[in-house]
Structures are given as C-alpha cells and as structure tokens.
Symmetry: C2
Subunit: 376 residues, 2 copies
C-alpha cells in the first residue's frame, strides 16, 4: 500500500513571486506542497483525507514507516540507531533531553554557540547540572569550536552525561564543520541543517531536528539515537517524556502529529530525489557563496559577525554598522519581494535552506549592490 | 489583515463515500478541508503558503490571534482566563500538568474513568503524589461520577493541588454530564468533547483539549486556564514545560505547530458557523441517539458496558457478547464503507464527533439491524 511520491531532481524554484528568506518555517518545493494538498483531500485512494486518518490504521502505518525509512537512508545510520518522531519542536525536546538524562543526577555539557544553544541550556538548568563547555561569543564575533583542535578547546568533565551542541546557528550565521570532538556521548541539534550536507550521524548518541526548516512542518521533531543511549534514560519520568518509550511504540505512543510526520517524510523523499545531502550541499554552498562573496566584495559596507571559519551555508548574517540603514535595507528589500530578512541578533539574515531557489540569492545580491550604490 | 473564512451552517456531509468512525484523527467538514488546501498553496494573498510562514510574521500573528479569539468566544471564558496553544497532544500536556503542579510537592487527584484518565495517571505518578479519587470501573460497567451527588462519591484530600477528570471517555463510551463537584481546582481533559456541547469552562482551573477530534489536527493542544492557576506552577522546570511561559509569549514561545493551530482555528470557526456548542449538541444527541436506541431495541443482541446514565453522545460502544461475532461485524461493516469501528476496549465503537454526518449513523443502524437478522 505504498503511497510514495516521485519527486524530480530539478532545483527548487520560486513560487508566487516572493522570495521567503524566513529562518523557519520556510520555503518548500512546489512539488511537495502540491502533493500534500492532494493528500489532504484523499490519501492514496483510501476515501479519507490525510488529516482524518486514524494513527492506528494501515494507511498511517505506511506514512510512519515510509518517513522513518527515508530518514534512515538519508542519515545512513545502522540498526543500532532508532529513528523516532517526537511531538513538539526542538525546544520541547531539549527539555525532554534534560529530563531523560539529568533528572537522576549527572552533568550536561553545553557548547554555547548561539541563541538556540542558549534555549537548550535554559531548559536543562532547572532539571540538572549544566556545564558550559565552550563559549561561542568571542567579543563581537560568533564562532564554533575549531575542528582541527581535537577537542582541546572544549571543557568537558570526564563523567559528562552528554555534550550538547547546535550544529547550525540560525541567528548567528555560523555552523560546525564537523561535530565536536569528545569521547562523551554527543547530542546534536540539527534542526536547521539536517540533510543539508553529509553529516556523521553515527558519531552522535542522539540528534534532534525539528521539521520546519529542511523538513517542512513545525510541530514534530526527528530524533535519531543510539538504542543503547535511549536505554540509559531516567525511569523517574512519565512514558510520554521518554524517548525510549516513543521508540518502542514506533512513534505511535500517543496520537502523533500525523500531518507533520507526513510532510517530514515527503520533504525527506524530495531531498533524496535531489541527490541527497551531498548534491544538496553543493547547491547550498553555491547559493550562500553568492551572498557571502557579496559581503566580502563590499569593501566593508556589509559585514558579518560570523567568524569566517564558521560561516554557515544556510543562514547568511550581515549588517551595515547602522541600525537605521539595516532597517532601511530590510524595508526596501520587502518592497522588491524579498521578505523575512530581519536578523535574530540585529542586522540582516538570509536563510536559504535546501528548498530555497538560487534565484533568490541572485536577486538579493543584485539588491545588495544597488543598495550599496545608493547608500555606500 | 483578517483571513477569516465564511463557513456554512449546513450539517456536515459524507465525503468520498466512506463513513469514518475513527475516534481521532477523525472526519472533517469538506468546507474546512477545502479551505486549508487553498491556504497551503497561499495564505490570503501573501505570496507564501501556510506551512511556510514565519511564526514571527504578521500573517501568523493573525492566524494565532483569530484562533484564540474564536476559542475564547466558544468557551465563554472571561479575561481572567488564558487561551494557549501548547505543543503536543493531550498526553504530553498531562505530563506538563504534573510537572507544573506536582514537581514541588502536592497531590494530584485523578478520577479514573477510562484508558485516557489512566494515561494521565501514568504521566503524573513518576512526578508526584497521586490519589485516585474515583474508580469508574464498576464490575463490567463503565461509569462516571453522579452529578446529582454533590461530590460525595469522590475521594478528594482537602489539600489537593488539583482534581483531574477526563470529560468524555472515548474508549468506554461514557461522559460526564457536568464537571466533578469539588472545591479544589478542577483540571479537565476535554480532548474529545470540546465544543460538542455547552460546558462550564469557568468551573475549571484548566481544560486541555488536543486537536484531532472536534478541532481537526493532531499535534497541538488547546489549554484554557485561569491566569491565577498558571501563576502557581513550579519554577523548577524549564520555560517550554510551563503553561504560564507559553501564555506570556502568546503561544509563540518557540516555533508553534503553526499548521495545527490554523486547522484548530478553522474548525472552531466552522463550529461557530454551525450555531456553536448548543446547536452542535442537539445534532450530536440525535446522531448518537440513533445508535444507542438501536442497541436498546436489539433485545440484548447488542449490549454496552457504558452505564446508561453516563452514555456519551460522541462515542457509542457496543458488543455482541462474542468476540468472533464482533470481529465479523467490524469486517462486514468495512465492506459497506463503514471504517474504524473497532473498539479500544473490545467490541465496537462508533465515534461521531461534531463533523460526523448523520447519514453515517443511519447507515450504521441499518447495518446493525441487518446483521442481527442474519446472526441473531
């Protein structure tokens, strides 16, 4: 009863004449939007629409299974890893992480590279011991640990329950070029960069990725975790809070966010049709490179607080040095159909995830040059 | 920038030739499905589809505000109550309830009338003290507390932090005819009966209702709570776990399940267009009455474990006394386009929420009579 879709390998295109630079929820491919609209009316000849299917029926079983399978293929993990669809976004799962692994004691190490790493810390502190293993705010510059330094820039107690990092920092425009180097269990927040590039999932005890960026729909998180790590979690919390209980119930412990799971599965299928993370990474580097290069070529008119070594291919952050001019830039860009360019930490941010069309980066760069001519 | 829809007051009709008796996710009105499909393509002329809108932008602000407003109107609560959209289904919020109110000590009283009340108990027990204030399993019969007894059938310690009940028990086919009578704060799970009948929300400290039954989409829960009660919650848990933090952030504490919030808002608007809970309740009583009457008129061929006084207008449960015959019934009904009739606690269950068409109940009753003729 497969309901697999066949998506193309053509690059994503603009839709409706607007370039949506939103950091998430964010631009989706037309093919996926069209497909899910059809399924809302009726899911593969079942006589029932996607939203209306029981999560205990054979049609949702297929949705659930197919989404899990494609995520397993894209991540490349073996049978010692579980793929779970958890309720809620990343922040909810940051809290669950702390409840699972710090509630009975133990120390969570957090590499504090961003606003989002900070959110994870905020959720962990009331629950257990937190150690900040790295500070990514170096003066006015945002950075990530240096992958060439064998972890010697991290402060990690030998008994740490886990080391948490946020792989791509959407607000700051920085990312890790590889996971942090430590012999303690690594937990990665991959919400904004999952399947945007090849990534060594098997170096992690757990990765968490909410859906609304490269996987389409808010309200559900993909968790890929070592089964052994899942088994270590606290039993002094309720079943719905335990990742392992969700895994044993095959992500149907309670009524799951069925629509979001389907959209995540479709977005993952589209990612696979595009050629997977390796092909996608080239396109992302190309798109982001256009904008980073425009910053570098501006003679200092545009600057970024993201350290060059840690520049993200997904979120390009920049500013002019003048908050007024930044506001002018954002407003004028809006009148030219480029929306959601306001940064999280001031200035501008161009978020360009897997499905964001290259044409959007081109139009932005043209506008940056024009704006500089008028205000530089 | 209102994007309000205009739904009709006509009764919901069958779709696609299938009667979907699912207990949730469940049948939705064609008008609402059509409307949300349009918005997936583009939300009210914004150039961006519903799934792709930033939750920090003006369009989602309107979605969020409109959904909150219509729920406030339908529930009739005053300004001393907050309306919050929480991530996750009811079970997630059962766990949050215990974390908010039992984590620092205190006792949660649970009226155990069902499988779902049991789930709430399972989430609370690891967190704090739990007292079972009522046992709804009386021999082979399912029941709810007697509204005529002024609460004297409940065991509630005078210092209870709250008294939890599940207003409609989907598995058992029972419901409360009014909230339990107690002077301690009342927390109601209204997941399956919200806006199915007039209900005194202001007698509660908090009500919790997941979306996938009368409000359309799984993955989000509507919480209606006294602001004073919210302020009493533990501060020894992270922000994302605290109802009050969500309320202060106007349900945009993190990326909310934006699609589910929109569907909930549209389903609530449709409910209002239908005439609201009073008009809906009449239709539900009529639909359910057809099936309950068929059971009563069957001379004992069909029986229900639901006590007569507590019979639900939303989930009609029945069985033949033979597990084999029940299985035969469910299979044959399926071949006649009546699906998802398998009960949660054995036998059959016909779930008929607000949007379920009367014709489905009529067809089921005809089939029940025919089946009895052949096997009675």
């Amino acid at each position: 009863m497969s309901r697999s879709s066949s998506f193309s390998n053509l690059p994503a295109e603009p839709r409706l004449g607007v370039f949506n630079f939103s950091a998430g929820p964010s631009h989706m491919p037309q093919e996926v939007v069209d497909h899910v609209r059809e399924e809302l009316a009726e899911l593969s000849g079942s006589g029932i629409g996607l939203l209306e299917h029981s999560h205990r029926g054979p049609h949702y079983d297929d949705v659930n299974q197919e989404a899990g399978d494609v995520i397993r293929r894209l991540s490349g993990v073996g049978d010692d890893y579980a793929v779970i669809f958890m309720p809620g976004g990343a922040t909810v799962n940051f809290a669950f992480l702390a409840l699972n692994y710090l509630h009975d004691g133990g120390t969570g190490v957090y590499l504090d590279t961003s606003v989002w790493a900070g959110k994870a810390i905020d959720e962990a502190r009331p629950i257990g011991d937190v150690v900040i293993g790295y500070d990514g705010r170096q003066g006015d510059t945002f950075t990530c640990p240096d992958a060439t330094r064998s972890g010697d820039d991290l402060a990690v107690p030998t008994d740490a329950s886990y080391v948490f990092y946020c792989a791509n920092n959407t607000g700051e425009g920085t990312w890790y070029t590889e996971p942090p180097i430590t012999d303690r269990p690594i937990v990665g927040d991959l919400t904004s960069d999952i399947f945007s590039r090849p990534w060594p999932f098997e170096r992690h005890a757990m990765t968490i990725a909410a859906g609304q960026k490269n996987l389409g729909a808010a309200g559900c998180s993909v968790v890929i975790a070592q089964r052994d790590f899942l088994a270590e979690a606290s039993r002094r919390i309720g079943p719905i809070l335990r990742f392992e209980d969700h895994e044993k119930a095959e992500s149907i412990l309670n009524t799951p966010p069925t629509f979001a799971v389907r959209v995540i599965g479709l977005m993952a299928e589209w990612t696979e049709a595009q050629g997977g993370p390796t092909a996608i990474a080239e396109r992302n580097a190309d798109k982001a490179g256009l904008v980073w290069n425009a910053i570098d070529a501006s003679g200092g008119f545009y600057r970024s607080r993201a350290e060059r070594r840690s520049r993200s291919d997904l979120n390009v952050t920049f500013h002019t040095g003048s908050a007024e001019l930044d506001a002018q830039f954002i407003e004028e860009a809006g009148t030219h159909g480029m929306v959601n360019l306001k940064g999280l930490v001031g200035g501008m941010r161009a978020s360009m995830y897997n499905a964001f069309p290259r044409q959007g980066a081109e139009v932005l760069v043209d506008f940056m040059k024009d704006f500089m001519t008028r205000y530089g």
